[in-house]
């Protein structure tokens, strides 16, 4: 659990360029952010890259953090990084004339060949569309309220709530049926 005062002190240190404070942020949020990326991409190497990119961005952008929920700010960056990654993949795949559906599958398809352990949840998550999957992971790993998530996604809270509910219900059915 991240205490508010502790977090405020750490962020203040980050703004002053204290490397120990940045290390503390990595320790605080590294696992959650890695989980978010891993559940979205299903791939260790990609998750490693995205997590590194997230914290590099954090160093660059910490000056623009003006208070409010730090989780919300951090996961907004994480979400943008994931969308950039998707767009990059899409561009490369378009060049190779592969459809978006195949791309989505390929992004989320767990890699058996590189010896990664694939759990049951990951194999069911790929059956959800990217948007729903991202929404569920954002909710679960960021631990943000629906109000915050709706703000990040620039949509009404009712829409966010309904989409999450549909997604979670479907995931539950998939898990129970598998």
């Amino acid at each position: 659990m991240v205490q508010g005062d502790d977090l405020a002190r750490v962020i203040s240190g980050c703004k002053k360029g204290d490397s120990r404070c940045f290390s503390r942020v990595v320790d605080m949020y590294g696992s959650r952010c890695y989980g978010y990326f891993h559940r979205l991409t299903g791939n260790n190497d990609t998750s490693d890259e995205l997590l590194s990119e997230l914290f590099v961005k954090l160093v660059e952008k910490i000056g623009s953090y003006r208070g409010g929920s730090f989780e919300s700010w951090l996961f907004t960056i994480a979400s943008n990084i994931f969308h950039d990654y998707l767009r990059g993949k899409q561009r490369r795949k378009k060049l190779a004339e592969v459809s978006y559906e195949e791309l989505e599958w390929e992004i989320a398809e767990p890699k058996h060949s590189d010896g990664e352990m694939v759990d049951r949840l990951q194999s069911q998550l790929v059956k959800l569309d990217v948007e729903t999957r991202e929404l569920i992971m954002l909710r679960f790993y960021s631990q943000l309220s629906f109000k915050e998530i709706a703000r990040i996604r620039s949509e009404p809270i009712g829409t966010t709530l309904a989409k999450t509910h549909r997604g979670l219900k479907k995931l539950r059915q998939l898990m129970e049926g598998s």
């Binding site: 890695y34 989980g35 759990d119 949840l121 569920i136 009712g158 709530l161 509910h165």
Partner: protein, 171 residues
């Protein structure tokens, strides 16, 4: 992690799904989140975390240099703005006070520079009375109350004005 806990999910669900559906909806949320908790995602390697921390430490000096450059530019901008404001202020203060000199020119120099306040007040009172008299005569002429010859009345008024003007400027 506090945001989600501060949220009253039951209240929110009831608001958007209605009291009838709220219970099953909440159950869907809780069950699905239980499944997610029971299947934790892999954790990042210690090596990855160490590499990230090392990369951050490597990038910090560049960030500090960028912040320093940014602050220097900011300070230069503020200094330039202050210099421009100061320059304009000096230029404006050196210009003659046109408004003041305009008002001064309305009064005859003799009255303006005179120290005899009582005599000046008498003169001003006489001028004021004469102006009032002329004003009332003009009003009478305009309303047609004055039955005398209009040409001679206008000539008389002009004479009075000329006389008043010369008296005024003589002080």
């Amino acid at each position: 992690m506090n945001d989600q806990k501060r949220e009253n999910l039951k209240e929110l669900v009831e608001k958007f799904f209605g009291a009838g559906q709220a219970e099953s909806c909440l159950q869907d949320f809780q069950e699905a989140e239980r499944i997610l908790r029971e299947h934790p995602a892999p954790r990042p390697d210690d090596m990855l975390i160490s590499n990230i921390k090392a990369e951050i430490a490597m990038r910090l000096p560049a960030r500090r240099a960028r912040i320093f450059r940014h602050r220097v530019w900011e300070a230069a901008g503020v200094a330039a703005a202050v210099a421009i404001v100061a320059f304009l202020g000096v230029r404006l203060s050196q210009q003659p006070d046109r408004q003041h000199s305009f008002h001064a020119s309305l009064l005859p120099t003799a009255i303006w520079e005179s120290n005899n306040i009582v005599a000046d007040d008498v003169d001003l009172a006489v001028f004021t009375a004469e102006i009032e008299q002329i004003r009332s005569e003009v009003a009478a002429l305009e309303s047609g109350e004055d039955t005398a010859d209009p040409d001679s009345a206008i000539a008389e008024l002009e004479m009075e004005l000329v006389e008043l003007n010369s008296d005024f400027w003589k002080g």
